[in-house]
């Protein structure tokens, strides 16, 4: 069982459950993109109530979902391997291009040494792999106190912030 981090702090597991495409969709279900595309009309009311989440695999790019992101309270982006970096671009595009305001969660092979970058790319929560040390994980969020680039939190690169 992964350990859930929200806004840089460990929290108890929340009520969201991943549902397969054959499962019944109930409140607080996380569904696949395939299902969303097939059953969008039926699912909209649940989404409107803030009780529907989406799971994106690492080869599902943000442009496929695009403005549909606003239907979801939570979007999970999967990292099948920690070294698969597609999720970083997906997160930034969802935040910065499509203006997704809900909870954006990194799931899958989520490790301590990627948390800092995930945070910068706009992930608001992480399902940390269960073997990872909690103390080290929290420390990782403050690895760098200053960064050169702009990111999901600050549109200004360092060159617009330098004194």
């Amino acid at each position: 069982m992964a350990k859930l981090i929200k806004e840089n702090a460990f929290v108890a597991p929340d009520q969201w459950q991943l549902r397969g495409d054959e499962d019944t969709v109930t409140d607080f279900s996380i569904i696949t993109l395939t299902r969303w595309q097939a059953e969008k009309e039926q699912l909209k009311s649940l989404a409107q109530a803030g009780k529907l989440a989406l799971h994106l695999t690492s080869d599902q790019t943000a442009d496929v979902l695009a403005d549909d992101c606003h239907h979801f309270a939570l979007i999970c982006i999967d990292f099948p391997k920690f070294a698969d970096g597609r999720g970083y671009s997906c997160a930034r595009l969802l935040r910065e291009r499509y203006r997704f305001k809900g909870d954006l969660r990194a799931v899958g092979d989520v490790l301590i040494d990627q948390l800092f970058f995930m945070n910068r790319c706009g992930f608001s929560s992480q399902a940390l792999r269960d073997d990872q040390d909690e103390h080290d994980a929290l420390a990782a969020f403050s690895t760098f106190s200053v960064s050169y680039q702009n990111d999901a939190h600050d549109p200004r690169p360092l060159f617009r912030r330098r004194a």
């Binding site: 970083y88 671009s89 990627q114 080290d136 690895t143 760098f144 200053v146 549109p155 690169p157 060159f159």
Partner: protein, 553 residues
Amino acid sequence: MYVYDEYDQQILNERVAQFKGQMARYLDGKISNDEFLPLRLQNGIYVQRYAPMLRVAIPYGLFNTAQMRRLARIARDYDKGYAHFSTRQNIQFNWPELSRCPDILAELAEVQMHAVQTSGNCIRNTTTDEYAGVIADEVVDPRPYCEIIRQWSTFHPEFAFLPRKFKIAVNAVPGQDRAAIQVHDIGVNIVRNDDGDIGYRILVGGGLGRTPIIAEEIRAFLAEEDLLTYLDAIIRVYNQFGRRDNKYKARIKILVKALGIERMRELVEDEWNRIKDGEGRLISAELDRVKKHFIDPEYRQLTNEPTELVEARASNPAFARWLQQNVKQHKQAGYAIVVLSLKQKGNPPGDVTAEQMEHIADLADQYSMGEIRSTHQQNLVLANVEQAQLFALWQDAKAKGLATPTLGLLTDMICCPGGDFCALANAKSIPVAEAIQQRFDNLDYLHDLGEIDLNISGCMNACGHHHIGHIGVLGVDKKGEEFYQISLGGSSGDDASIGKILGPSFARDAMPDTIAKILDFYVAKRIAGETFLEAYRRIGHDSFKEAVYGKAH
């Protein structure tokens, strides 16, 4: 050169602390080998055949004498007393202990150096012309742009886990290219448009390795302030759509080929149009801030060809030869650009001892304003030498074995560390380089042959850039034995081309004779003033093939 401010230093110090912690967690068993791999790679540490190798970044090849002395100290204290300059203007230590690498990184940080992103699937050190800022024919000094790219690419949160490594090179000289930008993932050509504005012609998808490809133009002109947003857009497209199922198909060149340059451009421009007017756009204050670090030093008012130089040249043929081959014209009257060769006979190309490194630092302090540049041909440059001092410098350099007068000639070879060090190599490359250096050691003959790029790689990863050598040598494995395949006609310059394989490969001891056959044929067939590459292009591949293998039956 660029001097860190408090932000730069803080970022680097925090990096040193981060890796120290990661190393401790690794040694403590809290990080597995596989998971530690990209962390150590992005801090410059490879595990090689016998020991770890630490690759230290020399951003765009520019460093100072305090940094050189620190590198020498590291070579002595943590290694076997020598180091190796690579084809990407970096420097490598071949024998550090893994557990001591964090200490080396801390020592480097004290002199504003690091090993950040010198390996791994991320944006690597940006390279440029080793004569940047001191030659007359550049559009503008490319180094401020390289520094701006360095900062933007350092710990870029989105691009630390790309499908594969990513290399950017910058050139600012019209009609010439010492940075080989056409064989990089992104080539930035700094140009002026018809209105006289500075901007960039952007190339994408070049590369060597298993699939050598010349880059294509994705944008003919990009305004000066648009550099970083455009780079963001290209790499964002690559990060999403580049292949990750096969590491040999994962470079951006494969994506560009698969999509076609038109579709690639469409995707990039669509993303760029969204961000180009945002806060990521460069501002003139930042361009000015960085450019201030690269303004000309206070040159003295001197004239070309001072008496001391003229007299020394006339009376000393060996000095005259070195001047002709290793000294280049400076933009400032009375000054010269000097290339110190790291291609002495019996020495692996690019290798220097700690003593030599200190000597070079002394030379740079005494003769060249305390700065040094590394080149992608694995030599070192002193860029600001007074012409009146050239003879004294030459005597000093010669005494230390650094004045081999063969720049650009056959024995000024590019060579990867090969099977002597590298775990990837199919074959050794250094012994081939040494055999060629031994066989062709007659300076008159070498000068008569003229400019020839001979590049040697120990495997198809092509670290020795064999594809773009006029003569390329590739180590191959044939049933457990080391053989060498020769290609001809490659070029890294403005007229970049990929060499064509000549024919079946040769055993190592046959290599000097085979190279001799190629050279003899060139000498017999060349017309006055024709370089090897020009002659090859005129005479054609098949004639050279016949000269080496005999007539096909």
